[in-house]
């Protein structure tokens, strides 16, 4: 655990800065209307995650974490955003996102969620090591903000971005609270993410062939009698 290791103060400071950046990016995504910018923000979130994991790996000398940082960088910061951008072009989705709630209201709801997340994770923060105290709250807040984004967006692609942002939040929880899950589990999660992403790609094309559009309004036909 971290308590036993002498940790440089600057490392902790940078880690806290990165956590704040992650939360800021989550809010930026909530406020963003353009799909392309949304994907860029997602890529940045992945990069911040990778740097944070790398930093913890450096401070604790855990070789497994280096590997997981590299995996994050490759998958979340590079591969997935690039593929998403290409999908956007191939499917010729219009660039705007129409949200159900208006943006200021969504941001207000986001602030409420952050407060909720911090109060829920209070007992956890007290138990965690000095370095990561308070970060569990930020991680939970990032998860909930991504959740909010999924609820308030109409386009299939922006829901997927919300889904991936939620995944980022969870990943951050795992690294900040527990210094990363066991390697085998982490590999499994990465594999699932990758397969899920491929399946989504297939699914998008099915959707375009059937509806000629990526708008989720077409997916509201089933009514409960």
């Amino acid at each position: 655990m971290l308590e036993n290791i002498h940790v440089a103060l600057w490392g902790v400071a940078i880690l806290k800065f990165l956590a704040a950046l992650l939360l800021l990016l989550a809010f930026a995504m909530l406020a963003q209307r353009r799909l392309l910018t949304l994907i860029n923000l997602l890529a940045w979130q992945g990069a911040v995650l990778a740097i944070g994991t790398g930093l913890i790996a450096f401070m604790t000398n855990q070789s497994e974490l280096w590997f997981s940082a590299a995996l994050t960088l490759g998958l979340k910061a590079l591969l997935i955003p690039v593929v998403l951008r290409r999908l956007l072009r191939r499917l010729k989705v219009r660039g705007d996102v129409e949200a159900i709630l208006n943006i200021p209201l969504t941001l207000l709801a986001g602030i409420v969620l952050v407060i909720f997340a911090f109060s829920l994770s209070q007992p956890l923060s007290n138990l965690s090591s000095t370095v990561t105290r308070g970060m569990v709250g930020i991680a939970l807040a990032a998860v909930l903000l991504a959740f909010l984004m999924m609820i308030t967006r109409r386009k299939a692609i922006s829901q997927v971005v919300g889904f991936l942002a939620m995944d980022n939040g969870l990943f951050f929880t795992a690294t900040s609270a527990t210094l990363g899950m066991p390697m085998i589990v982490e590999l499994g999660i990465a594999l699932d993410a990758l397969i899920g992403f491929v399946i989504l790609g297939v699914f998008f094309f099915q959707m375009r062939d059937t509806f000629d559009s990526m708008d989720l309004q077409h997916l509201e036909k089933i009514r409960e009698e």
Partner: protein
């Protein structure tokens, strides 16, 4: 070794079916793979009966009485579904003009789903359990949208997003579990192994475990179909092929509930209170009531039985919530009985829909005259799912009511109300569907496709009437693992 054999049988099937799944003998290959898997499972259960629980592969895999029971059910229903799929898909391939590519996808994804179920049950690692359940979601998304209809796509999308969010919550819960375990077990892969966690469950930090359990319950509860997290379930059951609906109801819901139960044991140990049990009772009762009242309004036969699955999972969850030895015994029996019966009901429903050409309950009638075998399979299956004797669901529901009387008598009216309304929702419609005149344009579907339904229904009767002592002891021992 035996565990590896089971997993190897089922995993090797995936690439084989991905290559040859569209051939004329692809459906037979699917059956053979699942028959071999069932044989391996039988060998494994013989070993467990002889020498008790054991772990393998550096404790990464584990069998005890509890998961062995569910693995056994998995094997039987998996083989049944594979056999049924051959007869069922012949008609669907023509009706939806499915290309060879899509048939390969169908078989490979179906086998992937069956493998993830077995992996989820046999793994000892709570993290891998999560990975397997996520894999189960992913592999069934494309199965639900197999026919490329607007309805199927909508159902698949809803399924993907809702279960994805649910599983994200479960992952958060699993991370919290690891966080709690780290304080005692230290870093590394051991801290998520269930057998290790179970050994130190009294030392786990109660506050963290309470939060972890809530997230795990909400997360896996989405997959169990607990109200109010059940929205994906009726759509996914109605949108996909009936062979897929059968395994969704028969296997997936059980395995998700199994995951919740494993977490409950740890939480009970850490908290030493009835906190987790009360949560399960609440969710279970709510699911029972909401599902049975919603059933009254259903017009689509597959949606009707999808809601019935929610109802039965609610009853089982409620039983585990009560937590007395009889209740847990009944809950396990209910899970097994429901799995066997509901999958056979979906087998018959699929063939009935094919022969009538509509899923609307109003338009389905005269099944008994179209094909007596199908008619009997359908009628017996539905009567059994309603809890009529000599079905094992009768026995388990009876035991659940008895144990509720012992510990929470004031809940009896609600329990009986839910079961009664469910009966009233299905029974009158069953008569209309099975008897009556033959509708126009009705086709006679294959008789061979009914064999799995009859075999599974026979097993359900045996579980009630001639339940062997050795099996009773087995289930009792499995139940004692959950106390």
């Amino acid at each position: 070794m035996m565990i590896y054999l089971v997993l190897a049988c089922t995993l090797l099937g995936i690439p084989l079916l991905a290559i040859w799944g569209s051939e004329r003998w692809g459906a037979w290959l699917f059956i053979v793979i699942n028959a071999l898997t069932l044989l391996a499972i039988l060998a494994l259960s013989a070993r467990v009966l002889q020498s008790g629980s054991f772990t393998a592969g550096d404790d990464q895999f584990m069998v005890d009485d509890l998961n062995m029971l569910l693995v056994l059910v998995d094997g039987v229903v998996g083989l049944g579904a594979a056999f049924y799929s051959r007869s069922y898909m012949v008609h669907e391939i023509i009706h939806w003009s499915l290309t060879p590519g899509r048939m390969r996808l169908y078989h490979a994804m179906f086998q992937t789903f069956l493998s993830t179920m077995l992996l989820a049950l046999l793994t000892n690692n709570m993290g891998i359990l999560w990975v397997a359940l996520e894999g189960a979601t992913l592999s069934t998304v494309l199965l639900v949208s197999l026919f490329h209809t607007a309805e199927g796509l909508e159902a698949a999308w809803k399924y993907f997003i809702l279960c994805g969010v649910g599983l994200a919550m479960a992952l958060f819960g699993t991370i919290m579990l690891y966080f709690a375990a780290q304080r005692t077990l230290g870093d590394g892969a051991d801290a998520l192994l269930w057998t290790h966690l179970d050994a130190i469950r009294h030392q786990l930090q109660p506050q963290i475990m309470a939060i972890a359990f809530i997230f795990i319950l909400v997360g896996y509860g989405t997959k169990v179909g607990l109200v109010p997290l059940h929205n994906w379930l009726p759509d996914a059951h109605a949108g996909g092929p009936s062979s897929v609906s059968a395994v969704l109801s028969g296997l997936l819901l059980n395995v998700a509930l199994y995951a919740v139960l494993r977490a409950k044991v740890l939480t009970d140990g850490a908290l030493g209170t009835i906190f987790a049990g009360r949560l399960l009772m609440g969710f279970g009762l709510l699911s029972l009531l909401v599902a049975s009242f919603t059933m009254l309004r259903q017009r689509d036969v597959k949606r009707l039985f999808a809601y019935s699955s929610i109802e039965h999972m609610g009853i089982a969850t409620f039983a585990f919530g009560i937590g007395s030895p009889i209740a847990i015994f009944a809950g396990l029996l209910h899970m097994i009985g429901h799995s066997l019966t509901k999958s056979s009901v979906f087998f018959s429903v699929g063939l009935s829909v094919q022969s009538v050409g509509s899923r609307e309950i109003q338009r389905i009638h005269g099944i008994m005259k179209i094909n007596p075998f199908l008619g009997w399979a359908f009628m017996l299956g539905v009567l059994f799912i309603l809890g009529m004797p000599p079905s094992s669901l009768f026995l388990s529901e009876f035991l659940i009511i008895i144990s509720t009387l012992q510990s929470q008598p004031w809940l009896i009216p609600m329990l009986l109300l839910g079961m009664g309304v469910a009966f009233a929702a299905i029974f009158p419609r069953l008569q209309a569907m099975v008897f009556g005149s033959i509708p126009q344009n009705a086709i006679r579907t294959s008789t061979i496709g009914n064999i799995p339904a009859f075999i599974q229904l026979t097993l359900v009767v045996l579980l009630c009437v001639f339940i062997p002592l050795i099996l009773v002891q087995w289930i009792q021992h499995a139940a004692s693992l959950l106390q």
